[in-house]
């Protein structure tokens, strides 16, 4: 079985990854064949990773990192000082303000898509949605380039539903955690480990008959999947999903919110070798009651995001971990009659930290009334190119969509000047 499989490896990278059998695993005979290309190997060894803090619903730039106090459009939102003289952000982000020297704020993000679903897709994949092809999310693309296939944990994890791997398939599909406060579903065996392993052995033997009758390819792929899954179930690394073992004071710093727990989980997973983790914070769609609601939301997001940066720094993970904070677009400068702000992709903000990014700076700016970009516009492809640079991935690397069309990880755009040290 293994030999046949080896013979086919030149044909297909997917098949190449199919060599782990549940039986081999159960027998402790697991070994990764060293057939990756050297460059890819080098890249993987660097262990770079990314954490995306996703603000679902589109956060208001005025109430986050581009406040305009004292102007009509700025509303009642006040600005506060940060650890970097001259950089002021919205009140409510006091913790983030303290780690501003690690952060590069981008106040000149600009895009055209003002629909949540479409923009969420675009800000995850770099492409606008199309019925013909399911684009892989950036996380899946990065995992394909960076993740060690032998690793026991999934290469892409998302706290909350997200955009999937598209045509890149099962290997890079995000492993979704709905509740970061508890272990993922079904990762615990329902029988004692020896019996579980015995079952895996039995399953392995019973697969032979079908494989011999013509199901060989199916059985190979199945064994690879079951090998990977059993490895996850039996691995001590699965404990990385358990944040309850972290010291209470640290957990407190992250905050006892879904988002805070997600950030702590993200740090643990990145530390354990996961390539891409997304943590979602929802409800940013503040068409009404914008000021109260953003205050509440900042109270949930600010401690987690800031604690994450501090924690990564303390553990020496900052250099090889890129943290990005963003949502799908911004919100209108004009405050609507319901005290809300509506969708506004023309100018919005976000930030990057770690991964070689030069902190303590602001890239670009919006006009004084907040209606447009004043200088250094940053498009979605520009942002994605910058992410690729941080992680050492070639943004023009192509993969083939199912209809045979080569697609680059990022189409167009360029690295944001001055972003990196």
């Amino acid at each position: 079985m293994l030999n046949t499989n080896l013979a086919q490896q030149s044909l297909s990278r997917r098949r190449f990854l199919q060599t782990v059998s549940a039986g081999a695993l159960a027998a402790g005979a697991f070994n990764l064949p060293g057939l990756m290309s050297v460059n890819a190997d080098e890249l993987r060894k660097q262990g770079r990773s990314m954490i995306l803090l996703w603000m679902q619903g589109a956060p208001s730039q005025f109430e986050t990192f581009d406040p305009k106090p004292g102007t009509e459009n700025g509303g009642p939102t006040e600005a506060i000082e940060t650890s970097v003289p001259g950089i002021r952000i919205a009140k409510g982000w006091e913790n983030t303000a303290k780690v501003m020297d690690e952060i590069a704020l981008v106040r000149s993000m600009t895009n055209k898509e003002g629909n949540h679903q479409r923009a969420t897709y675009q800000l995850h994949t770099g492409y606008i949605p199309s019925g013909s092809v399911k684009h892989p999310s950036l996380g899946s693309n990065l995992a394909k380039m960076l993740a060690d296939p032998a690793h026991e944990l999934p290469s892409v994890v998302s706290v909350g539903q997200t955009v999937g791997a598209g045509y890149l398939g099962v290997d890079y599909e995000p492993f979704v955690v709905n509740d970061p406060g508890s272990m993922p579903q079904n990762v615990t065996t329902t029988v004692p480990t020896p019996r579980f392993e015995r079952r895996l052995g039995l399953l392995d033997k019973l697969e032979d008959d079908f494989a011999g009758r013509g199901g060989a390819a199916v059985v190979d792929s199945h064994k690879r999947l079951y090998g990977k899954t059993a490895k996850l179930v039996l691995s001590p690394a699965i404990k990385s999903f358990d944040i309850s073992t972290e010291p209470a004071p640290l957990r407190e710093k992250y905050g006892s919110t879904q988002f805070g727990r997600g950030c702590l989980l993200a740090r643990k997973l990145v530390e354990a070798g996961v390539t891409f983790v997304e943590v979602r914070a929802g409800n940013w769609d503040t068409h009404d009651n914008n000021f109260e609601r953003t205050t509440t939301l900042a109270g949930q997001v600010d401690p987690g995001a800031a604690a994450l940066i501090a924690d990564l720094k303390e553990r020496g993970l900052m250099e090889k971990t890129l943290v990005v904070w963003m949502g799908e677009f911004g919100r209108t400068p004009r405050i609507n009659p319901r005290n809300g702000r509506d969708h506004y992709p023309r100018v919005f903000n976000g930030w990057l930290a770690g991964g070689g990014v030069k902190g303590g700076q602001v890239i670009g700016s919006s006009t004084p009334d907040g209606a447009g970009v004043k200088d250094n516009p940053v498009s979605v492809p520009d942002l994605f190119c910058s992410v690729c640079k941080s992680l050492g991935v070639d943004p023009r690397h192509e993969s083939l969509s199912p209809i045979g069309r080569p697609l680059k990880i990022v189409d167009g755009g360029e690295v944001v000047p001055g972003l990196f040290a």
């Binding site: 013909s132 039995l202 199945h222 179930v233």
Partner: protein, 687 residues
């Protein structure tokens, strides 16, 4: 009789076609000739596309393009031809259209003819053909294919014992008559349509769509009628299932056009959305001409509980004139007129109180935010003109505009509808209903060969595991099908049987090609298609039905399947929906790209829900088997029949009995055996 009536259908199509361009009239001549002659010999070399020199290596419009790993070699036969001149792209389908039967062909005869074609080509390739599948394999395969579930142990035994030589054909007829057939394929099309939804909220309409599709199949609606309903659908998305396709794409003209072409024609013309198609003959304008059939479609939110939407036509403006499709569109086209109509105090500006009661109502504040440059709280005509256009060029207009790629914020060039295959044009300034009726007519016309081909290729691919074209939704025109003559036979038969859906299934199920065994794949880079059956992964609904059947329950309720409730107005999720969240995939995906996921494996391995249902004690099916059969061999036989719809081999029996002996605890050993069979690749696979 049937021949006469189907001719009359075609003549009505022709009378429509004659009004069109000279190019379309040209096509009428040979077609009429064939109809008059009533001959099957319409398919000759002269009718086929002009021969070209094949150069299968050039699949991409750029040199040294990387090739897909294992896909490309397999696709060798269907690779594009090197010379993609616009002529062949336009010419090939229309000329092909004349080659078809006039009298309805019967399933058995067509199936036999298809097999002859395939065998002839196989003889050249020197590939040996796999033998006919055993009864138990055929039964499981055809039961999954037609009714979406597995046969029971009793079904397997009775079918094996039946000595009637026509039992396979009888079984097929019986399955085609079942309600499960309609349900199974309604679910299939639900997944085809909604897997690519660009309007995420459309998920709440999936059940409505499925139920509607089920009804259509139950009443034996022909495929052209079903397609026409979907293309011309109107009304509430919670009530009118036929609106599903339009709702799934937010009634956006370009998205709807792209999906209409992909699903009903198997052509991915939307690649020509932004540029001339990289590898096919379609021009950018032709895609937008298709989209121009849909600019007056609107999705209107209804503020009811639960919230819903209605698919409506917007043929007139809120200002009563013909200025634009929504208030913003009207404003942009003629701000002076809008102001004149609403400006009660005649100061040349619109104030909030003036605008509030009019069609601008809720939009006014937003417009003020965008355009009130002098901050007087009112909008003048000058200010209105300067308001930046909406996010998407052309949005909000009653006519379709092709975006200007060099200036995305410009309104773009106005495009009138034209169907790119047959070049039929319904005319300009038509109402939404007229446009959509026209496009439905063009698409479903027998003059358009892609409509029948797309359907039969898709069903063939779903049943045999590989299509004449792969993938099923990217067929042409520059790519050659494998066994093109067999595809023609099937497509022509489908047309001559007036798009009778069941005819296609019956014919395919009757072919030898369908009834072959699976067998180890040849160790070649380019395995010959259709020499043996291809094992494929079960769709979520098939697997769900199989699991519940094996475990003897109606539904997988309860824990282990927890998912967050989704968005607005979502109805309660059924256990089947939850299962599909985990096991569902887009059925247009080529079969060999469908593989399992870690969460799926985790569920099957460790779900407490399944574990409970797989216990040897209590009131489970396993407990029933163990009580009924005291002999381990008998119990194993029954277990295999139940889970895999076949008896175990001697080798398997030995592995199992050895295992039972080793464990030395009958209940525990059988629980492990059931666990292993349920987690086996064979259980998850149609073999």
């Amino acid at each position: 009789m049937a021949a006469t009536s189907s001719c009359s259908v075609r003549f009505s199509e022709l009378s429509g076609a004659k009004r069109l361009s000279t190019g379309a009239v040209l096509l009428v001549v040979p077609l009429t000739a064939v109809l008059v002659a009533g001959a099957l010999s319409g398919r000759n070399e002269a009718d086929a596309a002009p021969p070209e020199q094949p150069a299968p290596s050039k699949r991409f419009a750029r040199p040294n393009a990387p090739r897909p790993f294992d896909r490309d070699s397999r696709r060798g036969d269907s690779a594009r031809k090197s010379d993609s001149s616009a002529n062949t792209g336009k010419g090939a389908p229309t000329q092909r259209a004349v080659a078809r039967h006039v009298s309805p062909s019967d399933s058995a005869g067509t199936a036999a003819a298809i097999d002859v074609v395939i065998r002839e080509e196989l003889a050249e390739s020197k590939s040996s053909v796999a033998p006919v599948a055993a009864d138990e394999d055929f039964l499981r395969r055809v039961t999954f294919d037609l009714t979406g579930t597995s046969p029971s142990p009793r079904d397997v035994t009775l079918f094996g014992l039946d000595s009637d030589p026509a039992k396979r054909a009888k079984l097929v007829d019986q399955l085609l008559d079942s309600d499960e057939f309609s349900r199974n394929w309604a679910r299939y099309w639900r997944d085809v349509v909604f897997s690519r939804a660009t309007e995420m909220r459309a998920q709440f309409a999936t059940q409505t769509f499925e139920d509607w599709m089920h009804g259509e199949f139950q009443k034996k609606a022909p495929w052209d009628a079903i397609a026409t309903s979907m293309l011309t659908a109107k009304g509430g998305v919670r009530e009118e299932g036929s609106t599903g396709l339009i709702f799934a794409h937010g009634a956006e003209p370009a998205e709807v056009a792209a999906e209409v072409s992909r699903i009903f024609l198997g052509i991915q013309i939307q690649c020509a959305n932004c540029h001339d198609h990289p590898t096919d003959a379609w021009k950018r304008e032709q895609f937008h001409q298709l989209a121009a059939f849909f600019p007056r479609l609107r999705l209107q939110p209804k503020m009811t509980t639960p919230r819903t939407f209605e698919v409506v036509s917007l043929d007139s403006t809120p200002f009563g004139g013909r200025g634009g499709g929504n208030p913003l569109g009207a404003l942009r086209e003629n701000p002076e007129l809008a102001i004149r109509r609403l400006d009660q105090n005649r100061d040349g500006k619109l104030s909030k109180s003036e605008a509030e009661d009019g069609p601008l109502g809720r939009l006014f504040d937003r417009l003020l935010g965008l355009g009130d440059t002098n901050k007087d709280g009112m909008l003048s005509a000058e200010e209105l003109k300067k308001i930046e256009p909406p996010m998407m060029a052309g949005r909000g207009s009653r006519e379709y505009h092709m975006p200007d790629l060099n200036n995305p914020s410009a309104p773009g060039k106005r495009i009138d509808p034209e169907f790119f295959v047959t070049h039929e044009k319904p005319g300009a300034d038509l109402s939404d209903a007229d446009r959509r009726a026209a496009v439905a007519r063009y698409i479903t016309s027998p003059d358009n060969p892609w409509f029948a081909r797309a359907f039969v290729n898709r069903i063939w691919s779903e049943m045999l595991g590989e299509g004449f074209y792969i993938p099923v939704d990217d067929m042409g025109p520059e790519r050659e099908p494998r066994y093109g003559k067999a595809l023609d036979l099937l497509a022509d038969g489908f047309v001559s049987n007036r798009y009778d859906v069941r005819w296609v299934y019956r014919t395919i199920a009757s072919t030898e090609a369908y009834q072959r065994q699976i067998r180890p794949t040849e160790a070649t880079e380019n395995p010959t298609p259709f020499v043996a059956a291809v094992p494929t992964r079960l769709r979520s609904d098939q697997l769900y039905s199989a699991i519940t059947k094996v475990l003897g329950i109606d539904d997988l309720g309860g824990g282990g399947m927890r998912r967050p409730g989704g968005g607005m107005g979502r109805g309660p999720r059924t256990p089947r929906d939850n299962f599909a969240q985990l096991f569902g995939f887009d059925p247009s995906t080529p079969h060999d790209e469908v593989v399992g996921s870690v969460p799926q494996a985790l569920f099957l391995m460790n779900s407490p829900l399944l574990t409970n249902l797989m216990r040897a004690g209590g009131r489970t099916t396993l407990s029933g088997i163990l009580t009924k059969y005291s002999s381990d061999r008998d119990a194993l036989n029954e277990l295999y029949l139940m889970v895999l719809a076949r008896e175990p081999s001697e080798k398997e029996l030995k592995i199992c009995t050895d295992y039972i002996a080793e464990v030395n605890n009958r209940n525990e050993a059988f629980e492990d055996l059931l666990w292993s069979l349920l987690n086996s690749s064979e259980f998850l696979t149609k073999r």
